[in-house]
């Protein structure tokens, strides 16, 4: 069980610092945000810190079919294609060519395995789902001759696609028959702004998918853009979960690839291991002033000052690098807390964490803290609901 860093725009020194501190065990590279030469330098940097850090490359082929698309540096990659439609995936040869180009490119860079191309899946029964499976199949054929395994099937699943258990089950029946070593899966959120809330049915099916692939079928499951859900996904059987240094790298939304529509700067956040949430600095400030900051603080190397002063007075010192390192540290500790436990015990421990977080929310609210709706405890109830369904389905 490992925490991975979701690489993206605005790297600065955050990647170096995270590696230096040993906060992540892997990095998932985003070609959209660095051109091929820079990306190779980034890989060299990562290798310079530790050969043990796993590097995966998300080819981001789901951008092929988006129009209009904000594809950044992707156009500089030899495999990239813009403005494809369904017709471009008709026929075995067409699919094989796309897969070959994506796999062949990955053979030229120093990464740990190959990630297959995929398309955005909004319905697990429609033609795009079939195309995604064909891309995986074609990648299996290609990878054999080009680059040694492991091969990871990549999936970009919308919340809608994950809403129906029967669809997920039928999809898994096919996917588990394929000769892949693992899966790189991303849940594309409907909301373009960061939120801990999630439809319990979607999360339940996501946990079920991770469990089926990771535990029953012994695949390496890497969950991209998992963020605080990492604890649940790890408990269900994920090998790794990734998060990034800003909200756009913590949760995935296709809006990331759409032309920008403006909008305000994200408000600074603080990740609380005790609340299992990323709350606003303003919420943390209230907790201090109401005398309940200890119900909220995570106690990492980065948040000591918040014990002594209201958070908003420290806003200037809570820069993106510091908050990122804190975030990684919190998630890493939470994951470590369930490491080595049996699946059943890991799930029970996660439920205990959620119950404890609900209790701390209650204490803070009783003291008068009014959390922003984007940082309240609703997600915890949704998580519990999802876990209950997951347990019923798996007998864990």
């Amino acid at each position: 069980m490992s925490l991975f860093l979701q690489h993206g725009y605005g790297k600065g020194d955050k990647l170096d610092r995270a590696l230096e501190k040993g906060l992540v065990k892997g990095v998932i590279l985003s070609p959209r945000d660095e051109d091929p030469e820079r990306l190779k330098e980034t890989i060299a940097t990562i290798r310079g810190y530790s050969r043990g850090v796993k590097i995966l490359f998300d080819p981001q082929c789901y951008a092929f079919t988006l129009s209009p698309v904000r594809d950044g540096k992707l156009a500089a990659y030899p495999y990239y294609r813009r403005g494809l439609s369904r017709a471009d995936f008709v026929g075995r040869r067409a699919v094989a060519k796309i897969a070959a180009e994506v796999i062949d490119y990955q053979a030229t860079i120093d990464i740990d395995g190959c990630v297959t191309p995929t398309v955005h899946l909004n319905d697990l029964r429609d033609v795009w789902s079939q195309i995604a499976l064909e891309l995986i199949d074609a990648s299996i054929d290609r990878v054999t001759g080009v680059k040694p395994r492991p091969l990871y099937a990549s999936l970009l699943l919308s919340e809608r696609a994950m809403g129906q258990r029967s669809d997920v089950e039928a999809f898994l029946d096919v996917l588990t028959r394929m000769e892949i070593d693992g899966v790189y899966v991303i849940l594309a959120r409907d909301s373009s702004s960061y939120t801990s809330r999630i439809d319990p049915a979607v999360l339940e099916n996501y946990l079920y998918m991770v469990y089926v692939l990771g535990v029953i079928n012994e695949m390496e499951v890497h969950c991209g853009f998992a963020d605080t859900c990492a604890v649940l996904l790890h408990a269900a059987g994920a090998a790794s979960c990734a998060t990034g240094w800003h909200n756009g790298l913590r949760q995935f939304s296709l809006s990331r690839f759409r032309p920008a529509t403006g909008g305000r700067q994200p408000r600074p956040r603080y990740t609380s291991s005790r609340l299992l949430n990323s709350i606003l600095l303003a919420d943390l400030d209230q907790a201090f002033r109401r005398g309940v900051v200890n119900e909220v603080l995570s106690g990492t190397d980065y948040d000591l000052a918040f014990r002594r002063r209201p958070a908003l007075e420290l806003e200037d010192t809570w820069d993106l690098t510091t908050s990122t390192l804190h975030h990684l540290s919190v998630l890493g500790d939470l994951i470590a807390g369930i490491e080595g436990l049996s699946r059943r015990k890991a799930i029970s421990a996660t439920v205990a964490l959620i119950d404890e977080a609900l209790g701390r929310y209650a204490v803070a609210q009783a003291a008068g803290v009014e959390f922003d709706p984007s940082a309240d405890d609703e997600h915890l109830r949704q998580w519990k609901h999802a876990i209950k369904g997951f347990r019923d389905a798996t007998g864990l």
Binding site: V174, N217, E218
Partner: protein, 308 residues
């Protein structure tokens, strides 16, 4: 002539190179005999294709059903595939290819298979009752090996049941027979309506889904093995009991979660019980990803019977 009246004498007349021939058993549209071919004993499997019309001069005198040609072609292909299988857990295909012949007004086809001297598990179970955990594990491992071999040859057995598993008299090893699944499509072992190949008491949930027939894989066979192991453990089929209607039985295969062997007998080893129940999972993705994974899991199970 009726197919059931196909005596060894009639066969010896039609197939003199296989003399002497003796009857062993029958099931569905198939009869099995022991025969001698070039000095070696083989199992002779004879399948009913169809009856000629009474009037030889009429166009209907020859069988024109295109399904017959397809069935024969598929049988030949299946036998050819299985000829490549080399492990010891499967009955080997014999030296004679699928051959069509006639006896009186009946059109038949036959092929030869390795003759196995032993007792089938159905007979054994009826005579001796449930098996020990150690023996259940042993037969489970042999069947998984057989399924693996078949799958590597591109085939799914689809009709794994106690009557199709033989324990060799010579060394106690287990052999899976009746690998002619393509022939089953023409009626052999077809005991449920709707063109489903297999025997109703051992069908997997996906075998009941007509639209998924083409996508059946080894995991369907693993389910069949789960039913067999369950029967060996408890003496009873998990989904069917005497008097169960077809509709109820099929519904149970799809929906009903039977009590585990451990639930039924607290002394039964938990690990082995869990393994059997995993094979009986309703969805293929909840069984095992590969035969190797299943084998490794079964090798690891603790078979110590819980002492009181």
């Amino acid at each position: 002539m009726h197919f059931d009246d196909l005596t060894p004498a009639l066969l010896e007349e039609a197939l003199p190179e296989l003399r002497p021939i003796r009857f062993i058993g029958a099931g569905g549209q198939k009869r099995v005999y022991a025969c001698n071919y070039q000095g070696q004993v083989y199992a002779l499997k004879v399948h009913f294709i169809g009856k000629k019309a009474a009037d030889e001069s009429s166009p209907a005198a020859t069988i024109t059903d295109p399904g017959v040609d397809t069935a024969i072609a598929r049988a030949k292909r299946a036998v050819e595939i299985l000829r490549r299988c080399s492990g010891g857990s499967l009955a080997r295909v014999g030296p004679v290819d699928v051959t069509v012949f006639e006896v009186q007004d009946v059109q038949l086809m036959y092929y030869l298979e390795e003759f196995i001297d032993g007792v089938d598990l159905k007979t054994d179970l009826a005579k001796n009752g449930p098996w020990t955990p150690a023996e259940i594990r042993r037969v489970g491992l042999a069947l998984i090996e057989a399924i693996k071999e078949l799958w590597e040859c591109g085939a799914v057995h689809r009709d794994i049941k106690p009557a199709n598993i033989i324990r060799r008299t010579a060394d106690g090893s287990f052999v899976l027979i009746d690998i002619d699944l393509a022939l089953d499509l023409h009626g052999d072992s077809l005991t449920v309506p709707g063109g489903i190949a297999g025997t109703k008491q051992y069908l997997s949930p996906e075998q009941l889904e007509v639209e998924s027939k083409r996508s059946l894989d080894f995991r369907s066979d693993l389910f069949n093995v789960g039913v067999v192991m369950y029967e060996l453990a408890t003496g009873e089929n998990p989904f069917w009991e005497p008097g169960t209607s077809l509709a109820t039985g099929m519904s149970r295969i799809r929906e009903f979660n039977p009590p585990s062997p451990k639930d039924r007998d607290p002394k039964f080893p938990s690990d082995l019980s869990d393994f059997i129940m995993r094979l009986l999972a309703k969805k293929p993705h909840l069984r095992f990803r590969s035969c190797d994974s299943a084998r490794k899991a079964l090798e690891k199970v603790d078979i110590e019977v819980v002492s009181e």
